[in-house]
């Protein structure tokens, strides 16, 4: 199929799904048809992106366009709405498509619980429109369409977050989300308008041409504005505050899409500006991105460790992983400016690879968390436990996702983090020593973040799925419906395959960034099937073969029981009680809790968390030797909310209160204001109009 047909079928699929959803509010068929629209759309998007990435697309694509006269009487112009001019956009389109399919499938089972409780119209229609706008953002070829799709994405996802608006927490999460996303949009618009050429053409090619004529200072301003704007969407620290509340509030398949895909479009935005529009810049751009990435990675995982709400924990991990992606991208930008193109490719490939991988495992984990929520009706890990016995398949899929996000070989998370590590290790060859010295620090921060992520996911999986049920709901949990299981299985398989297929992924991603912003053509990156990427010194390489590691582990896992059998090890097995130091009964309350699990790290990083604890003990009225109950509460200080955002919000509210004085409610007063405003405007026009 040609690219044009695929693009049309993608748009038609999503719009069809949205239309069906608008017409009916309930019923099994409508749930399936809504999902089918998204499935068609997602599959088409994936095929379209795949054709572009493997070099089989039918040329540049002008799917939608129209003839326009920019000013009346001038010549007619062809205005592009959508186009794929570079494979970089295709990478992000592929991520949208790849996650749209399982998310749509999952929604069929997940929304069944809403039947009779709430209308399926809005969530179904918005899901499709959300997917459509996310697919179109990377295809947009001019400012107007980019901003239109970007806002479509923001508004549809806001409405999806508000699906369960009957809870006050959700409303607050939605407000934060809307506030931050519009804040970011302001910066993005400012960045675009500074790039606008004199003839007013918003086409990206024209912007790039105009950008080349700008002064370095102005270019840097544009880049910083874009980084703030897109960083707010990506969830970079300190612009991340909306993310841990908005992502968990949404229905789980939407959380998966927001965390897996939407925030990645912030990465796309930074790449769009940094490479395609501005064509690379001074080293400090990359250094800034790298620093923000490293800080986000570390703070994201540190806050995730303290979180006992399963979905909020996952949301904080999105901040961590966005940080890892930005470490790769930032390192790439730095290497580019220091004239180390091969390492630059390695950095960008690491970032993009992690983008794809994170979409897979974070999507999987959010879907898994959704299944747990669906089964237990709670997000608090302290009320779960023992779910592996009642939800064996969900548990297995979640375990795969947890291992992948913890960067354990041979899964995909390890491979992409390895590529980022290799890029940073190569950073030793940056000619400026005082800059090169920063590389080991970045390496150590990345290593600490990945170690802490492993600790965090032992907690997340162990407390949720292992041990004994801590509540009645957890005891009564049931396995997720088939459609949800299939969706999770597909993503779990993708985590394994994307890791093993590194030898195909790395060259494809190398092609995706080739030639952008002064990067060398694809042929410069030599990739054998062992994924050998050139390192700093000539002739020396870091090599791994994820596929061999996978096969080796499988062979060893099969060989050990065989060896045990061969050497006649005992096969006797007795099931008995857990050893309890002479205690007779074991209750769920004797287990370690999530809070207890994270306690050592809370103490170690006390300077950051500033933990406060209140313990109140109720004694038995007869004797103080018997304790009736203990209440324990622990809090940590949310730094950014308290010291950065709260003062600003207070100030805004105070100003708003002052402005309220002009709100008299009298129509005459308002008419006076109107006339006054008009007079002032005319006056200004007379002053500067000439």
């Amino acid at each position: 199929m040609s690219s044009g047909v695929l693009a049309v079928s993608m748009i038609a699929g999503y719009l069809g799904g949205a239309l069906v959803a608008c017409m009916f509010s309930r019923g099994r068929l409508v749930r399936w048809l809504t999902a089918a629209g998204a499935l068609v759309g997602g599959a088409s998007a994936l095929a379209l992106a795949g054709a572009e990435l493997t070099g089989r697309s039918s040329g540049n694509l002008h799917v939608l366009g129209y003839l326009a006269r920019p000013d009346l009487g001038g010549p007619q112009q062809y205005v592009q709405v959508l186009h794929i001019v570079d494979p970089l956009a295709a990478v992000f389109l592929a991520v949208v498509g790849a996650l749209a399919i399982p998310a749509a499938l999952y929604s069929v089972g997940y929304t069944r619980a809403w039947e009779g409780r709430r209308s399926l119209r809005m969530p179904g229609a918005m899901l499709n429109l959300f997917l459509l706008s996310m697919s179109l953002v990377p295809l947009a070829g001019s400012i107007f369409w980019f901003v239109l799709f970007w806002e479509g994405m923001a508004i549809s996802s806001y409405l999806l977050v508000m699906t369960e608006a009957d809870e006050p927490e959700t409303v607050s999460a939605g407000n934060w989300y809307l506030g931050m996303t519009q804040f970011g949009l302001g910066f993005i618009l400012a960045a675009f308008f500074l790039l606008l050429p004199p003839d007013g053409s918003g086409d990206f090619t024209a912007l790039a041409k105009h950008a080349a004529t700008l002064s370095p200072g102005l270019k840097s301003l544009v880049f910083v504005l874009a980084l703030i704007g897109f960083g707010a969407k990506a969830g970079l620290v300190p612009l991340h505050v909306w993310l841990p509340s908005a992502h968990p509030a949404a229905p789980s398949h939407v959380s998966a899409l927001m965390s897996g895909v939407m925030i990645k479009l912030g990465v796309y935005g930074v790449l769009l500006f940094g490479l395609r529009l501005l064509g690379g810049g001074p080293a400090w751009w990359g250094g800034l991105v790298l620093t923000l990435g490293a800080v986000s990675a570390l703070l994201g995982v540190l806050y995730a460790l303290m979180e006992h709400d399963l979905k909020r924990l996952l949301a904080y991990h999105s901040i961590e992983n966005i940080g890892i992606i930005f470490i790769g991208v930032g390192a790439g930008m730095m290497f580019l400016s220091y004239g180390l193109p091969e390492l630059a490719v390695l950095g960008f490939v690491g970032g993009l690879y992690h983008t794809i991988n994170h979409a897979c495992f974070k999507g999987l984990l959010f879907l898994g968390a959704g299944s747990v929520l669906h089964a237990t009706h709670t997000r608090s890990m302290e009320e779960m436990g023992g779910l592996i016995k009642r939800m064996p398949r969900t548990a297995l899929f979640f375990l795969v996702g947890a291992a992948a996000i913890s960067a354990l070989p041979p899964l995909n998370g390890f491979v992409s983090e390895w590529v980022v590590f290799q890029a940073l290790l190569g950073g030793a060859s940056i000619p400026k020593r005082e800059v090169a010295v920063l590389m080991p620090v970045a390496v150590a921060m990345l290593a600490l973040a990945s170690g802490l992520a492993a600790a965090c996911f032992v907690k997340a999986f162990g407390i949720t799925f292992l041990g004994i049920a801590r509540s009645h709901e957890a005891e009564q949990a049931h396995e997720a419906p088939a459609s949800m299981q299939v969706a999770m299985a597909a993503l779990a398989l993708a985590c394994v395959v994307l890791g093993a297929a590194a030898y195909a992924m790395v060259p494809a991603l190398g092609r995706a960034v080739a030639g952008l912003g002064g990067l060398p053509p694809a042929s410069a990156v030599t990739v054998s099937w062992r994924l050998s990427v050139p390192l700093s010194a000539p002739g020396a390489v870091g090599q791994i073969s994820p596929l061999s590691i996978l096969l080796g582990l499988v062979i060893l896992l099969a060989a050990i029981p065989m060896a045990l059998w061969l050497f006649r090890a005992s096969r006797a097995l007795r099931v008995s009680d857990t050893w309890g130091c002479g205690r007779i009964a074991q209750t769920p309350r004797m287990q370690y809790t999530a809070t207890a699990f994270a306690e050592p790290l809370r103490r170690i990083f006390a300077a950051l968390y500033r933990p406060t604890e209140d313990v109140s003990v109720d004694f038995h009225p007869e004797s103080r030797y018997f304790v009736q109950s203990i209440a324990y509460r622990a809090h940590i200080v949310p730094w950014f909310e308290r010291y950065l955002y709260d003062p600003v919000i207070d100030r805004v509210i105070a100003w708003a209160a002052r402005v309220r004085a002009i709100q008299s409610g009298s129509l005459h007063a308002y008419l006076t204001y109107l006339v006054g405003a008009l007079v002032i405007m005319l006056g200004l026009l007379m002053l500067w109009g000439r």
Binding site: A428, L466, A572, Q591
Partner: protein, 316 residues
């Protein structure tokens, strides 16, 4: 032919590592006992322990799931996989390009991850405590390991173990460069932390206040315990081989002849004995640190690592 020989040697060195590991731990225990004026169990005691455990029945908690029964196999398999990558006898072997030092570190983390999950599975307080502490120590030792890798990669231009060995052999002066010495120190501290040795953890006790690793595997018995113990002993041997062969590579066979391999075996045993003596003396001299002092130890080694790398950058 050379490739086939390479694979044979790789498999043989893994088997050898598995065979030597209990003896090495027995030697460390015996040395410690002698240093502490005890008679101590014979050096071959761990072999007898393994034989006994493999013959015994397994008792599994009624709360435990399939994960508890799978974890020993994952732990053993990941540690044996590491044995294929580490230059125990010869370098570079054909498996060298399958995984580098980062793979070694993360494969070991894979084992720790599953063991920590298995500690939570039976729902006992001890297991959870052990898991929590083990993961804390593992996470905090990651940055130090990463810096050690950075220092080695800086010198050798590669993270692959065979390459590092080859580079150091070709350029002996590198072995005493600040980066290498620092990486050695950092890896030594990590060896203590990762293998649950003093002053981080006490491998000889089951006391609630000291235990990390032992608390985590408290529920294991029989063949499962045998696999976990053997994997832990193998891990000690592999860390010793890394310390011995990456920083003092002389003796490692670079050609696959009987003479070279025999010499490699002899030097390996000598290096292991030296490191065992160092560890035994060290463990006899130091006391167990409080759990919340352990991060300070790791932080000190980390800061030293950063400083030394910075210095080696600036004097380059």
């Amino acid at each position: 032919m050379p490739l086939q020989t390479g694979y044979t040697v790789a498999i043989a060195q893994t088997a050898l590592a598995l065979l030597l590991a209990p003896g090495l731990v027995g030697l460390i225990r015996w040395l410690k006992a002698r240093l502490q004026n005890r008679r101590g169990a014979p050096v071959w005691q761990p072999y007898l322990e393994l034989r006994k455990l493999f013959a015994k029945e397994v008792v599994v908690s009624s709360n435990a799931s399939w994960l508890f029964r799978t974890a020993p196999f994952v732990v053993f398999a990941s540690t044996v996989a590491v044995a294929f990558l580490v230059p125990v006898l010869a370098a570079p072997l054909p498996f060298d390009s399958v995984g580098d030092l980062l793979v070694v570190v993360y494969l070991l983390l894979l084992g720790t991850f599953f063991l920590a999950l298995a500690g939570l599975d039976p729902g006992s307080a001890f297991g959870g405590m052990g898991s929590s502490r083990e993961m804390t120590v593992a996470a905090l030792s990651e940055p130090t390991v990463a810096l050690a890798i950075f220092a080695l990669a800086l010198g050798a231009g590669s993270t692959n173990l065979g390459q590092i060995v080859a580079r150091t052999m070709a350029d002996p002066a590198a072995a005493v460069s600040p980066g290498y010495l620092l990486a050695f120190g950092a890896l030594f501290v990590v060896t203590l932390a990762e293998n649950g040795r003093l002053p981080v953890d006490n491998p000889a006790t089951h006391l609630e206040l000291t235990m990390i690793h032992e608390a985590m595997i408290l529920e294991y018995s029989g063949r499962y315990l045998a696999l976990i113990e053997w994997a832990a002993w193998l891990k000690v041997l592999l860390f010793f081989s890394l310390l011995g062969n990456l920083f003092v590579p002389w003796g490692v066979a670079t050609v696959l002849t009987w003479a070279a391999l025999g010499w490699a075996l002899a030097t390996l045993v000598a290096k292991l004995v030296v490191l065992a003596v160092v560890l035994a003396v060290f463990e006899t001299r130091v006391a167990k640190l409080r759990l919340f002092r352990v991060p300070e130890l790791l932080a000190v080694s980390f800061v030293l690592a950063v400083l030394a790398i910075t210095v080696s950058f600036l004097v380059r």
